[in-house]
Amino acid sequence: MWWLIPIIPYLGGLILILGGKRLTKPMTGVIGCGSVGLSALLTIIAGIGFLSGDGEALSVELWKWFNIDGWSPGVTLYLDALSLVFIFVITFVGFLIHVYSIGYMARDKDFNRFFTCLNLFVGSMLMLVLADNLLLMYLGWEGVGLCSYLLIGFWYKDPVNGMAAQKAFIVTRVGDTALAIGLFMLFEAFGTLQLQEILAGAEGSLPAAANTTVIALLLLGGAIGKSAQLPLHTWLPDAMAGPTPVSALIHAATMVTAGVYLVARTHVLFALSPVAMTVVAIIGTITLLIAGFSALCQRDLKRVLAYSTISQIGYMFLALGLGAWGAAIFHFFTHAFFKALLFLGAGAVIEALHHEQDMFKMGGLKKELPVVYWTFLIGSASLAALPLVTAGFYSKDQIVWLALAGERGNGWLYLAALTGAFLTALYTFRMVFITFWGKPHTSVSSRPGKAMVIPLVILAFFSIVTGFLELPHNLGHITLFSGFLSPVLPAVHDMELPAALEWISQGIAAVLTIGGIWLAHLFFIRKPQLLPGLDRATTGLQAFFYRGWDLDRLYNILFVRPFKWLARVNQADVTDRFYTGLAWLNVWLHRQVIKTQSGILRWYLAGAAIGALIILTISVLL
């Protein structure tokens, strides 16, 4: 039955397409939510079966895709602990976001189109993580890209949204192309794209043709495109042009973590190449820092969250680069809940304020929207990794600690991870204070209904409790999560540092988090006069961070403008000149020959004589 999990959302999407405008809004809502809900139910059933069984991976071949020269990739689904974690998040969080969307999109005319795309997205995302071979995974991979494009540009009348949508598709496609080349290399080396065969092959004797470093880096290229990591992260902040539930589902909880999934899934290949591992760790580290700084300087509530997502995925990549596969997936798991919660909360705020997204025009919403405030606060605490009580603390602390204590860890990575933690606390609570505290700047027009509030509460609950699935050595030492993943992802080797150091490290992290919150409170609530203009002006370094380190400008100069210039100057195809020139030459010659037909007998005689002379000369000479 579990193979129906990705099929049902696809069917839901198909029904919505065929039904079109004939379906009423309630019917659309029921089909849209129902299909994902059904998948979530099946996932839970499959999960229970999986937990009570022996943890053996399941596999079902739906049909053979094609068969060439003995290579026959199937449309085959593969369920193991890793994919189970992902499909749980996708269907469960996805279902909550679908329910929320019924409230959020209630007045939109394109209600049907919204749920169609959302359903197709969930189907493709499930296909991505359940695929047993990389080709099928690529299908899901591109499918989610398409749905992301359609949903970012959902309000298509504004060309800005269209540009953001195209940018997202094109930038990720750059990564996808690297991934495709990686697939060609893998196929050449292993003669298959079936994941388990490749992983088994890579663990055993490696084919001579396999250059694991290059392959791993190419796969990484695909991963950083989808997961918005440096240098391909620039599409994600712009992707906030889509409706907020989309940002929550696609650009926070699920699709952007596909890169994390890809690296974790092919971890055997990465583990073989120290270079690739280092690159992963460095990309993650730099990304988490620069995105953190950018988040600190945004005015738009959703863009803060977007940069924060980039930064948190940076943590996941850091963990992957450390070989701490389980830690990366654990952070993905907790992040999915609290970041979806934050986006949905932000959506509720934006909806209540006539689609106002500028934080500095909000303020004082604590009393007006209490449920939203409290759930948002819980999500923020989790994002900022408030010690002991939040899920974010346990998942991030693990990564921070392994940056020092893991066998690939070192002082620099540790320092960067700590800095990132401080930045996170600072920008998160800057956002909370500006939005919910202080004086109100815009009046609340409507309050979220039940469909929106209930998902918030459920997600808030999960943003706390999921942390307790995995506790560090010195604090209870629970390893439910990593234990569950251990058949797929090997545990990280740490350097057996003394327990005291772990206490100290956690203490530092806690101090940084609380310090960040305190500083945010100081600057934005208690004494805003300390740093005047922090809320308004965007100049100097602040503006530089605000613009995302000017990478967009750089890419514009390097790629976009030259391409457009080339397109403009050569619109008429310069090679055509050759052929028109040829045609012109012919006409010209033709004209010259016409001139000789002048009707003057003398010219004809002279011509004949000269011709005879030339022929004679040639025949004599030869």
């Binding site: 060439i68 591109e142 499918g143 269209g162 949508a165 195209q166 697939l183 090679t575």
Partner: protein, 527 residues
């Protein structure tokens, strides 16, 4: 005999339609539609029977073909057992010219595509062509007959004959029923094709005399010429004759210049046949003639061939992005997509060849569909200028959705047939030439850029002058739905097509490999 019927039905249908139009135009349209449909169902029947013994694996082992298929004798002398039907009649015996038609998996698929798109071509002209409809249908059906002949002929003299039969009615289709700049476009098309065709004629004659001198048996028959021992210095001159004819038709860079004009100016059915079918005769020629007849020279040309393919992919894509005329834009995407054919043909691997075949079929469907959609937009808006479009999703989401499917096909979205084609081509080219494959893969990004631009300019963005786009009519649904179904079917179940051509591909790759091996051993022996 059924093979001859394919051609005769179209030719008679064309004549009859021309005559009938004097009395009743509608009758003429129905006659044209009927004759193409008969062919389509005949071909479908053959395909159905051919697919029955589920061959499964493509490589190794030959398919057992039911000898009753098509009721004709199977397997001509000297040919492998992959031929489904064969017809050989004396024509001009003193010169060794025969009326020789034969059908294998490759030609079968191409015929299916021809009649499928041909049917849609008649349907899409139903309302569009009101001027001299009889003569129009005569030309349309004769182009189709020429194409059918090209895909079936196994005699090179006859091949050249059909090659010309394709050309002249097409010239009329563009020149009479085209858009504003139609005369220029028609001449350009004619001169490019005719000039390159003459080179092919010379090469055919050269091959004929060399083979005749060698064996004393002067013959234009494909199977007689196939094993000809051509002196290297002669082959160096003969191979380009074929090559140029086919890559002008394909078209490959830098011979693509006729295409945007011809495609852009032709009436919808003309663009459909040009993009969907005529270009494929070039690809077909490369696979059927250039590679098997001149394996060594083709091998020597391979790096350049792949380079031309890559340049076509990137340069065509860039030009597509620059266009403001929708039909020219689609035309340039064809240049880009046919670059993949060039790349794959000169990679000489089974997988690349399968990719090329899929590309021929899926590109025919997806680009044909885009031209049909462009035609429907033109009927509604009376413009092809992208700057005068926008925001049509609101008034016609169905058409937008269908356009989206084919725009996605053109950028190679998995789940649609074009993805299988491009992936197989690239994956098959990788072992042959890594650098070229990487550069060609860059075409995926450019394809994304120009494809998304189509959607953005037509269906998204602010509404242009608030002009609504009229809903699709039943006839238009009838045209578009089969195309959508076909492209999705080929994306999810490509095996149905790949299986049909499998043995043919193996035949081509084997001849190449064998001839190269013999060359190597010969050279080895000389040392």
């Amino acid at each position: 005999m059924i093979l001859a019927w394919f051609i005769l039905i179209l030719m008679f249908g064309g004549l009859l339609s021309w005559l009938a139009a004097r009395w009743n135009v509608l009758l003429a349209r129905w006659i044209a539609l009927g004759s193409v449909l008969i062919n389509f169902f005949l071909a479908l029947g053959i395909w159905w029977r051919y697919s029955l013994p589920d061959g499964g694996v493509l490589s190794g082992g030959t398919l057992t073909v039911p000898s009753s298929a098509a009721g004709s004798a199977v397997s001509a002398p000297g040919s492998p057992a992959t031929w489904i039907a064969d017809l050989s009649l004396e024509w001009i015996p003193s010169f060794g010219i025969q009326f020789h038609l034969a059908l294998d998996g490759l030609s079968l698929l191409m015929l299916l595509l021809t009649f499928f798109l041909g049917t849609l071509g008649v349907l899409c002209s139903w309302k569009e062509i009101t001027e001299r409809p009889g003569f129009f249908h005569f030309n349309l059906l004769w182009v189709l007959a020429g194409i059918t002949g090209v895909f079936l002929t196994m005699d090179l003299f006859l091949f050249y004959f059909f090659w010309e039969v394709m050309l002249i009615p097409m010239y009329f289709l563009i020149g009479i029923w085209g858009h504003a700049n139609r005369i220029y476009a028609a001449y350009k098309f004619f001169i490019f094709t005719q000039a390159s065709g003459l080179l092919m004629l010379l090469a055919i004659l050269g091959l004929y005399f060399i083979q005749g001198n060698n064996t004393g048996n002067y013959s234009f028959d494909y199977f007689d010429l196939l094993g000809t021992e051509i002196p290297a210095d002669a082959a160096r001159w003969l191979m380009p004759g074929f090559l140029i004819a086919f890559i002008v038709k394909l078209p490959a860079f830098p011979f693509h210049n006729w295409l945007p004009d011809a495609h852009g100016e032709a009436p919808t059915a003309g663009s459909l046949v040009l993009a969907g079918l005529l270009l494929k005769t070039g690809a077909y020629g490369l696979l059927r003639f250039v590679v098997p007849l001149f394996p060594e020279q083709a091998q020597a040309f391979a790096p350049w061939g792949m380079l031309l393919g890559v340049v076509g992919i990137l340069y065509g894509g860039k030009l597509a992005f620059a266009q403001t005329d929708l039909k020219r834009l689609i035309a340039y995407t064809s240049v880009s997509h046919m670059g993949f054919v060039m790349l794959g043909v000169f990679a000489f691997t089974t997988m690349a060849y399968q990719g090329v075949l899929m590309q021929m079929i899926t590109h025919g469907i997806s680009t044909g569909a885009l031209f049909l959609l462009a035609g429907m937009l033109y009927e509604r808006l009376h413009t092809r200028d992208l700057r005068q479009m926008g925001g049509f999703w609101k008034s016609n989401p169905t058409m937008g959705g269908i356009m989206l499917v084919f725009v996605m096909a053109s950028l190679g979205l998995p789940g649609l047939g074009n993805f299988i084609a491009e992936f197989l081509t690239l994956n098959g080219s990788w072992p042959a030439n890594r650098l070229m494959t990487i550069l060609a893969a860059g075409g995926l990004v450019i394809a994304t850029i120009y494809s998304l631009r189509i959607m953005q300019k037509i269906f998204f963005g602010p509404p242009w002058q608030d002009r609504p786009l009229a809903a699709l009519k039943p006839r238009e649904y009838l045209i578009l739905i089969p195309l959508v179904a076909a492209i999705i079917f080929l994306g999810l179940f490509p095996q149905a097509a790949l299986k049909t051509t499998g043995t043919v591909i193996d035949g081509i790759t084997e001849t190449t490999v064998i001839s190269l091996e013999t060359t190597l051993t010969r050279e080895g022996g000389n040392q």
